[in-house]
Symmetry: C2
Subunit: 319 residues, 2 copies
């Protein structure tokens, strides 16, 4: 008699399971399904070969992102819940940057057998909380073994009948605006490296809080292009400039809100805030969360106050 | 002037790039987008914050699966194209097991900087070929750095208006049938471990070929439950039995097609073939690719010729 894959057994039933190794693959899946509530779009959730999600307008927005221990987070710096929030945020911000509402997340989690069950519980609770903040639910995933914690999160979303906001639609005359902070996560990383733990900027690094609802808001306002600021403002705005065949000029007075600040480099090049940068037709009335920081002009690439920017513009995982 | 993220530059433009490190993250994304054609359901493909895929019946089927070097494949055993085929097959088979047609794949690829560009090209070509065999296209992904090759593939699919075939619908009186081979991939793994390379069973391990179209076929025939045989027949059929609240009795004469074979253990417990196992109402006329191998009865769990099976039933990544 084979008895594997008991469905919907709560964490508490995993008596004696102290870590991922003793919980086992199917124990983990059961625990995940017990801990993660279905969402309004979940037609089939965790526990079958695949999930089924509603896609009411006949299209689904989809993205996948890694979060790898030692590369994107450190377990000695991040609480498990932080890792869950961050893993979800990376994909959820990509969905928002298309002008879509997130609806579902798939979570692939690999880790070492000695990963403690309490760590897993906190991670899952952070993941679910961040998904819920964006209006999404965890609908499925996969588990495997690895020496480090490796997460790959797939976000799925809904355009609610609108056209997606791509990178290639910026036109000369448009304004560039941003919603959410710039450079906070990068400043937090620098503080962590220097031993500081108790600072709001550190929290911004450990648990970024992208303004998800500004994505669909921008789409509704007629945004011509949009991207999430994951690699740094210069690098990400350059993607819009390249895809649109335009030049985008950043205004540092607007970025720093009128003054010169020592943080300007971080604001121009720091990634991981997952704020949204979008271009809008001239004259668009923008809500207060959108701050105009530049303009779209003829040409190519990105300039800062009309001139080339010298220095490393952003992050490349292989360099 | 920042110039990152040139879009749609072919591999050949990556002059001097010998490996992932010199190609860089954005070079890799550009190369992927040049090499991977859009599919019929691709509305927005590789190169934006997220992809957009058509979901004509207002639902999307979604699954994600790891393929980790040293755990699911070895680069000294598998050609790069094999790894691509296998990475795609794991997710595509899950989509088929819901009774759905695959439509899109997202590929998250992490690897060491010294991963050769020719390896990447062959991997991508295998991935695209397997996706195409299932009717799907690669629509997006992510890249990062890791000491080993880590792949997380998300499969998306379309139910074409039908209800998904879940694990929980088997009823006493149903027959259990399988489409595709049993134990071939496990036999191939044993051969590889003993030094054999040139054998069709080795090919079945390195490049499984799930019968994707039998998934929607089974749904059309009224299948009451379905699963893909990834962990071994006993273990996977046990998931159907548990979810359905029934016992499933396997008939070894039917499994071995009338004779006793030394491979029976592999056929009962070997995983990775990604064949499909499904239950059908009594009297269902099954096409030749579906072989009846057991029956659904009252009770719990899985039995073999009416008795308990002694031994390890399948694979758990953490045990």
């Amino acid at each position: 008699m084979v008895q594997t894959g008991c469905v919907n057994v709560p964490w508490e039933a995993a008596i004696g399971a102290e870590n991922l190794g003793s919980l086992g693959e199917f124990g983990l899946i059961d625990a995940l399904s017990a801990w993660l509530p279905a969402g309004p779009r979940t037609l089939v959730g965790i526990g079958d070969d695949a999930a089924v999600l509603a896609a009411p307008d006949g299209r689904v927005v989809a993205t996948t992102d890694f979060l790898i221990e030692g590369r994107h987070f450190r377990r000695d710096w991040s609480a498990a819940a932080d890792v869950g929030h961050k893993a979800a945020a990376r994909s959820l911000a990509d969905i928002a940057a298309m002008g879509a509402h997130a609806s579902g997340l798939l979570i692939a989690l690999a880790g070492p057998p000695d990963l403690p069950v309490p760590w897993l519980k906190e991670f899952v609770s952070g993941l679910a909380a961040e998904a819920s903040r964006a209006g999404a639910a965890v609908i499925g995933g996969d588990t495997s073994r690895a020496d480090l914690v490796v997460l790959a999160v797939t976000g799925l979303g809904d355009l609610a009948g609108r056209a997606p906001v791509l990178r290639g639609g910026a036109r000369p005359g448009d304004v560039l605006a941003v919603a959410g902070p710039l450079g906070h996560a990068a400043a937090g990383l620098a503080l962590l490296a220097s031993g500081v733990r108790d600072d709001p900027l550190v929290a911004a690094q450990l648990r970024p809080a992208p303004p998800y609802d500004t994505g669909p808001e921008a789409a509704g306002l007629g945004a011509t292009a949009m991207i999430d600021v994951s690699d740094g403002l210069l690098a990400d705005v350059a993607h819009i400039a390249t895809a649109s065949g335009v030049r985008i000029d950043l205004n540092t007075d607007l970025i720093t809100n009128g003054g010169s600040t020592p943080e300007l480099t971080l604001m121009l090049t720091g990634g991981e805030d997952h704020s949204l940068a979008a271009t809008f037709p001239p004259g668009t009335e923008l809500p207060p969360r959108w701050r105009v920081i530049g303009e779209v002009v003829d040409g190519r690439g990105v300039t800062v106050n009309g001139a080339a920017y010298e220095g490393q513009a952003g992050w490349d995982h292989f360099r």
